[in-house]
């Protein structure tokens, strides 16, 4: 084998290997999308009975599924908003000020990142049961904000690492007060970190199964509805909704990504 052909063979095998990994990653999604067009009407909805678009039409009649989806969006929006506000202000505060017990708070921030989610789920369940907070959308929001805050803080903190304090001082010297300075100077500089943190928080909240599973009470989120239906066989309208969501998120991210590129060029 010559050197060139050896190199070529190496290149081909790398491409093949990467393709196999991508097939592995996308295979179950392909199964979901294909099954959303499956004309079968008998449980467990696995045998292919021909192509139909019916599931996309009947999806709108499955009120329980749509309600759970609405819950998930509401939950993710509220948790992201709260976690982003608390996390951003907290990250700036922890960067600027030293206070007693700071290392404890710092340590606690890592808990949701490293501890298995099930431990966080059951610990919050025990808390809510002991202080008699009825489980529902409120406890779901409290739980989601809890595991989202650290990810917002880490994103904002990464942005703060290269932050120049003198700009703020200049703003205050020129007569702006603390609050104006925060909104006019600090926030714009941190915006990409805040945006990244919020996006991550939203993604984590939407996909969360384990923590929600313990604190939801009677409120069903979309993942919990899916979990419930897996026991009886996932009906193709769940696949249809998932396929629509996939298309939606890809479109959303492509749109926001191209925006980021444009801003970068200005």
């Amino acid at each position: 084998m010559t050197r060139a052909s050896k190199k070529r063979a190496g290149k081909i095998s790398s491409v093949v290997f990467c393709c196999l990994v991508y097939i592995f990653l996308f295979l179950p999604i392909a199964v979901v999308v294909v099954n959303s067009f499956n004309a079968t009407t008998s449980k467990p909805y696995l045998i292919w009975k021909g192509f139909t678009l019916n599931w996309y039409a009947t999806l709108w009649e499955n009120t329980a599924l749509l309600e759970s989806f609405g819950n998930t969006i509401l939950l993710a929006a509220m948790s992201t908003l709260l976690a982003t506000i608390i996390g951003t202000i907290g990250a700036v505060g922890m960067y600027k000020y030293k206070f007693r017990g700071k290392s404890v708070i710092d340590g606690l921030l890592y808990v949701p990142v490293v501890i298995p989610e099930i431990v966080l789920g059951i610990s919050l369940l025990i808390l809510f049961a002991n202080v008699n907070i009825p489980r529902g959308i409120l406890t779901l929001v409290l739980a989601h904000v809890t595991f989202c805050i650290p990810f917002v803080i880490f994103n904002v903190r990464a942005r703060l690492a290269g932050y120049d304090n003198s700009v703020e001082e200049a703003s205050m010297d020129l007569g702006a007060n603390r609050i104006v300075t925060f909104f006019e100077i600090t926030l714009p500089v941190l915006a990409p970190g805040i945006g990244g943190g919020a996006l991550l928080a939203f993604t984590l909240s939407i996909d969360d199964v384990i923590i929600s599973y313990f604190v939801n009470g009677q409120t069903k989120t979309y993942p919990l509805k899916v979990m419930e239906s897996i026991k009886s066989g996932v009906s193709p309208d769940v696949n249809a909704l998932s396929s629509l969501l996939l298309v939606g998120t890809i479109a959303l991210v492509l749109a926001t990504q191209s925006n980021i590129f444009k801003k970068g060029k200005e």
Binding site: I86, V111, V119, I122, T146, R178, Y213, V226
Partner: protein, 292 residues
């Protein structure tokens, strides 16, 4: 005068610090620290005859932890988590290396393609695997079509299927730190190594691997620990034949309704996490690279 000065200091420093750091500190204490203390206390509580939790001190929950059936499940969890971590490294390392060092203009796209599947709900994707691997699934149909199989085989409900599902779920958590570590690698070091006569294999073992080991460590932490708790993966793909500590805990808080025992089982997970994180820090691991 002195009073005026301290008032000024309070307004200038203490008040803004309190407003900014107060909410996050309060939230972390109430919703992380207090619940964990509750778990600890709960693990020493007893059940009365109606299966209600009573605050009567007992060690019986901890005694039950060394039940032989439970010991088997700890062993099984350990095995599944180790296999998951091993296969994640095995696939993710060369994969991350290839996409991090490609000269292709589509590098960002290649990277995004790893993330995109994870925007679909993880349960749905795991269910997709179940559909694929089941007796009437795609895999059986394909193998039957090519006459490799005469009778359908059930690939589901065993440890193998569970490990597959875990690797699938946690793969990006291995790719992200590896990708970051490999991208930072200084190419001139590789050139220097080969200029000095080192073979490719030697360059890899002596230069590339040590310089990217931080990625392997953080990835392993991010894969190994969650595996122990991902009860839904072993529920859906393992069908009760590949239970993890997570499944044991889940049952105590749902159908089993024995919260004190569930709390004691959770203490195992907390201790394992603490030990692994300590080892990780001892080996020079950076906590911030665990933050995704």
């Amino acid at each position: 005068m002195a009073k005026g000065k301290s008032k000024h200091k309070w307004r200038a420093n203490t008040l803004p610090a309190l407003i900014m750091v107060g909410p996050v500190s309060f939230w972390m204490l109430i919703f992380i620290a207090v619940p964990l203390i509750y778990v600890f206390v709960m693990s020493f509580c007893s059940l009365d005859e109606y299966y209600n939790v009573t605050y009567k001190f007992t060690l019986s929950n901890y005694r039950r932890l060394i039940d032989i059936d439970y010991l088997k499940i700890y062993g099984q969890s350990l095995l599944i988590a180790l296999l998951t971590t091993f296969f994640c490294i095995l696939v993710a390392y060369p994969f991350s290396y290839l996409i991090a060092r490609t000269k292709s203009k589509k590098k960002n796209l290649l990277y995004m393609l790893v993330i995109i599947p994870f925007w679909t709900n993880s349960l749905i994707r795991i269910y997709g695997w179940r559909t694929f691997l089941g007796t009437s699934g795609w895999l059986n149909t394909i193998l039957h079509f090519f006459h490799i199989l005469k009778e359908p085989v059930d690939f589901l409900f065993n440890k193998g299927a569970t490990v597959l599902g875990m690797v699938y779920c946690l793969f990006p958590f291995m790719v992200l730190p590896l990708y970051t570590a490999i991208e930072k690698l200084d190419t001139s070091l590789l050139e220097a190594s080969s200029d000095l006569g080192a073979r490719k294999g030697a360059t890899f073992w002596e230069i590339v691997l040590p310089l990217t080991s931080s990625g392997i460590f953080s990835g392993s932490i991010m894969v190994f620990i969650p595996t122990l708790g991902y009860f839904f993966v072993s529920d859906i793909l393992g069908g009760g034949n590949a239970d993890l500590i997570g499944n044991l805990i889940e049952r105590q808080f749902q159908s089993g309704n024995n919260w004190p025992l569930g709390a004691a089982l959770s203490i195992i997970l907390i201790v394992v996490t603490l030990i692994l994180v300590k080892i990780y820090q001892k080996m020079g691991g950076d906590m911030d690279s665990l933050g995704v």
